[in-house]
């Protein structure tokens, strides 16, 4: 199995993981909404913004999961856009694939964690006056760490080779990375 085949298999598994992760919440929210609509005539009675963003993030996760599961060609093309058929050690190839998959997991997996601070942020931005309550929420609306994690994930996905070059120098014999201590 070469690098690209391995990546495709990994991407499909990651897609399945996101689908399994997001589908129960998505279906649950839809059912909850339908029940609310039937009983109260309103959608998302209490935390409208948060509920809407949660639904959007779950929907996004499902769409991304389906795209990855389907194995769209552009996912692979973007990941290996500049790479030619350069012969490198198998360890380096596998590591690059692993880094790119970790990148996808990190970037997409952080989206649900972005929802809560983002909803607080939008609440503060859209509120008419900067009340004491919104002042307390300043910390909760701080979404930079999640954003940084997503950007780092995208970087790993696009340029995982940079990390591979650092972790596995070309000159090192990667077929036998360490002397076996049991021998």
């Amino acid at each position: 199995m070469d690098q690209r085949q391995l990546f495709e298999t990994g991407v499909r598994l990651v897609g399945l993981y996101f689908l399994v992760r997001a589908l129960p919440y998505f279906v649950g929210t839809i059912i909850h909404t339908v029940v609310l609509l039937g009983t109260t005539g309103q959608v998302f009675v209490r935390a409208k913004l948060y509920d809407t963003l949660s639904l959007v993030s779950d929907g996004l996760l499902i769409v991304i999961g389906l795209c990855l599961l389907k194995g769209f060609r552009f996912v692979r093309r973007i990941a290996f856009q500049e790479q030619q058929n350069v012969s490198t050690s198998p360890m380096k190839e596998f590591f690059t694939v692993g880094v790119k998959l970790v990148g996808i997991l990190l970037a997409v997996g952080t989206i649900p964690r972005l929802v809560l601070p983002l909803s607080y942020f939008f609440y503060i931005v859209t509120s008419d006056q900067y009340s004491a309550a919104s002042g307390e929420m300043g910390g909760r609306s701080y979404f930079v760490p999640q954003l940084a994690a997503i950007l780092f994930g995208i970087l790993l996905y696009l340029r995982g080779e940079l990390l591979s070059a650092w972790a596995i120098p070309t000159g090192k014999d990667m077929e036998n990375p360490d002397p076996d201590p049991t021998e």
Binding site: M91, V102, G139, P145, L163, E175
Partner: protein, 177 residues
């Protein structure tokens, strides 16, 4: 690639995970934690040190991530020395190494919480009695036991994965014997 190569690869990927965690925590602590402390000018001195202690989290994670990615030889040695007597079958050995990797993943993920809990305990012990430490105590009460259990599970998976092998592959081992 042999089983050892797969394990080394896994350890390197855990190093990447460490770096990702470090970046997220670095942005969480700087500048927000520092701003939060500045907002409360009447805090005790020990609370004002908190952001600097929290900065240890990304530093430790970065150093650990760098070590696991570029070297990690001690980790390899510990796992291979402890599991040198497995060798019954490829699947069993792979399972043990997978468990060791899972244990390492769990332990690495608990570093931030562990540092936080230790710091909260220090705060509770060192703060004068007239200063309220209820928030720290609540944090310790809710986090200490689950974290200790998770550390225990991670440690067992990392060090004693072979005992799980005997449990998981009981039938296949009996057949081979």
């Amino acid at each position: 690639m042999d089983q050892k190569g797969i394990f080394v690869l896994g350890v390197k990927l855990i190093g990447v995970y460490c770096l990702a965690l470090a970046i997220e925590f670095a942005f969480h602590i700087f500048p927000w934690e520092f701003i939060r402390v500045e907002q409360f000018a009447d805090l005790a001195a020990i609370h004002k040190v908190s952001p600097w202690i929290s900065l240890m989290i990304p530093v430790v994670l970065t150093l650990l991530g760098r070590y696991l990615m570029t070297d990690g030889q001690h980790v390899h040695e510990v796992v291979f020395l402890r599991n040198d007597d497995i060798g019954i079958g490829k699947t069993e050995c792979l399972f043990t190494l997978g468990l060791a990797l899972y244990g390492a993943y769990v332990l690495v993920g608990l570093i931030p919480l562990t540092i936080n809990i230790i710091w909260k305990i220090i705060i509770v012990l060192c703060t004068p009695s007239y200063i309220d430490t209820e928030v720290e105590l609540e944090g310790i009460q809710s986090d200490l036991l689950p974290t200790l259990v998770r550390i225990g599970v991670g440690f067992i998976c990392f060090y004693y994965g072979r005992y799980f092998v005997r449990f998981a592959f009981h039938q296949s081992l009996n057949k081979e014997l």
